[in-house]
């Protein structure tokens, strides 16, 4: 009969009117972010051997890394991702042999100024001599490392810890 579909439609909207709503009120409550979420990159500097496999795996040449030779090993001095060109495909994370590069669950990566967009994961000076020799001499490896890390990535560490709300998430 003509009109049945019309009444059925009204019934459905009437039923929907009283059912539970689907909205998640974002800033107050958050949808759980899955474990594999492709969020901001995190680099485990200690594990990284500066092999640049990730930079080669990237389809868009997002990753720029600089390294210096310290003793026999490569030392990572700069690791910057031009995140505005990143497709978050995950090929770089997959390429990493040493399990140093990861995705985090942090999706809030927007910046107010264009110049702030590149994601600086490491920027530090290369030490004058290899760490192992130093450690062998003085036995103060842990502190030395911690110090180096602190100097190296103040911006990245702060942003990652959410201490710099003025720059991100605006």
């Amino acid at each position: 009969m003509f009109g049945q579909g019309l009444i059925k439609g009204l019934q459905i909207t009437w039923k929907e009117f009283w059912t539970k709503k689907f909205t998640v009120q974002y800033p107050d409550e958050q949808h759980p972010v899955p474990e594999r979420f492709h969020g901001r990159f995190v680099l485990d500097v200690d594990k990284c051997i500066a092999c640049s496999l990730c930079a080669n795996a990237c389809p868009n040449k997002v990753i720029n890394l600089k390294r210096e030779k310290v003793g026999k090993k490569q030392f990572l001095t700069e690791y910057v991702m031009n995140i505005q060109y990143c497709m978050f495909c995950g090929l770089c994370v997959e390429a990493c042999n040493k399990d140093a590069l990861h995705f985090s669950q942090d999706f809030n990566m927007n910046q107010y100024f264009y110049r702030d967009i590149p994601l600086v994961l490491v920027r530090r000076e290369a030490p004058a001599e290899p760490e192992e020799e130093q450690a062998g001499k003085t036995g103060e490896k842990p502190q030395r490392q911690a110090k180096a890390k602190k100097q190296a990535e103040p911006a990245a560490a702060e942003a990652a810890a959410g201490k710099d709300p003025g720059k991100e998430g605006q």
């Binding site: 009204l10 009117f17 909205t23 009120q25």
Partner: protein, 350 residues
């Protein structure tokens, strides 16, 4: 006490003015002015909150929450919106007819506001109880066609032009079934005065004696206000926004508010003509008559909104076909049956 709240206020005002010793005519004029201003404020606030209601109803039917940030439960959202729209620039297209373009949103509110003068919101609560109330209302509401068309024509945009042509076609062809639908009621009552029509429904509402007339009236009225499923004047997926396409800021808001004020008019009209106006059903007299009136009116408004958020839009040829081939013959048949029925009842001597 509550029953005569507004009537009491008017009487109090009258006695207050009477104490001043001014002539009676001036006192009456002042009371009338106060009434009209009160109605005007009521319409504007109501139109603003109807927008809020529409958004909430829409959201609730779509598994969403709707506006809920400004004020408690988002109740102040319309004022935030209006504030924003006032701040916006009214962009005038370069080749637009500026005078007509700016006149249209100013004039669009005129017929709507004029109509409210005759609507009885409760017992003895019409600003003017005119003896040709229904006729006046129909004559004035049909004016708004002109202003929508003015807006569309003056914009000098093709989408606006198509929209305004649709306005004229749709409004003119749905005016007819609207009037013919009401004619059944008017024949039974034998009067065009709204208070008479309401008085005639003290025992039985006309929705039960004239169900087909109600359906015809309601359908035609929804089309008359350009609401879904007859919203092809706006038709946002086809012609962007019809006559309003080029309007921005408060000029757009005027059209928008007028639409909601028009919904109020048609729903108030349906309440008066078919749902017994301010009469309380089931003898629930302890609730004041004006509350009953508003309850009925808002129930109808809710239905109009639900229709919008359920149905798709019909096409322009189907719209005309439906109006002329279905509604008009049906309305004429209804008038014929009503007339025959009335004669039979008179013959029986009922």
């Amino acid at each position: 006490m509550l029953e005569n709240l507004f009537v009491g206020v008017a009487d109090w005002l009258r006695s207050l003015l009477g104490g001043l010793g001014t002539p009676v005519e001036i006192n009456e004029a002042i009371v009338m002015l106060v009434k009209l201003v009160a109605i005007l404020v009521f319409i504007l606030l109501n139109a603003a909150w109807l927008v809020y209601m529409e958004r909430k109803v829409a959201a609730y039917m779509q598994a969403r929450i709707g506006p809920n940030r400004v004020g408690p439960k988002g109740l102040l959202q319309p004022f935030a919106d209006v504030g924003k729209l006032i701040c916006k620039e009214i962009v005038i297209p370069r080749k637009a007819d500026i005078v007509v373009f700016l006149l249209a949103p100013v004039l669009i509110f005129v017929p709507t506001v004029m109509v409210f003068a005759v609507i009885p919101f409760g017992k003895n609560m019409a600003a003017i109880d005119m003896n040709i109330g229904v006729f006046y209302l129909l004559a004035i509401t049909s004016l708004s066609t002109l202003f929508l068309w003015m807006g569309g024509w003056a914009s000098n945009s093709k989408y606006s032009l198509i929209g305004s042509m649709r306005v004229v076609a749709q409004m003119v062809s749905y005016e007819l079934p609207l009037v013919l639908g009401l004619l059944g009621v008017i024949m039974i009552v034998g009067s065009l005065r709204m208070s008479d029509i309401i008085a005639a429904q003290e025992h039985v509402w006309f929705i039960f004696t004239q169900p087909i007339a109600f359906l015809i009236y309601f359908t035609a009225a929804v089309a008359e206000t350009n609401r879904c499923p007859f919203d092809l004047v706006e038709g946002e997926s086809e012609i962007i926004s019809g006559p309003y396409t080029e309007y921005a800021g408060m000029a757009f808001a005027m059209f928008f508010m007028a639409e909601y004020a028009n919904i109020m008019v048609i729903c108030a009209m349906a309440t008066i003509m078919f749902l017994g106006g301010w009469h309380a059903p089931f003898g629930l007299d302890f609730i004041p008559s004006w509350i009953w009136f508003f309850l009925k009116m808002y129930a109808l408004i809710f239905i109009v909104m639900q229709l919008r958020w359920t149905y798709p839009r019909i096409r322009v040829d189907q719209l005309m076909g439906f109006g002329w081939k279905v509604l008009v013959p049906l309305a004429l048949a209804n008038i014929f049956i009503t007339g025959v029925g009335m004669k039979i009842y008179q013959a029986i001597g009922w």
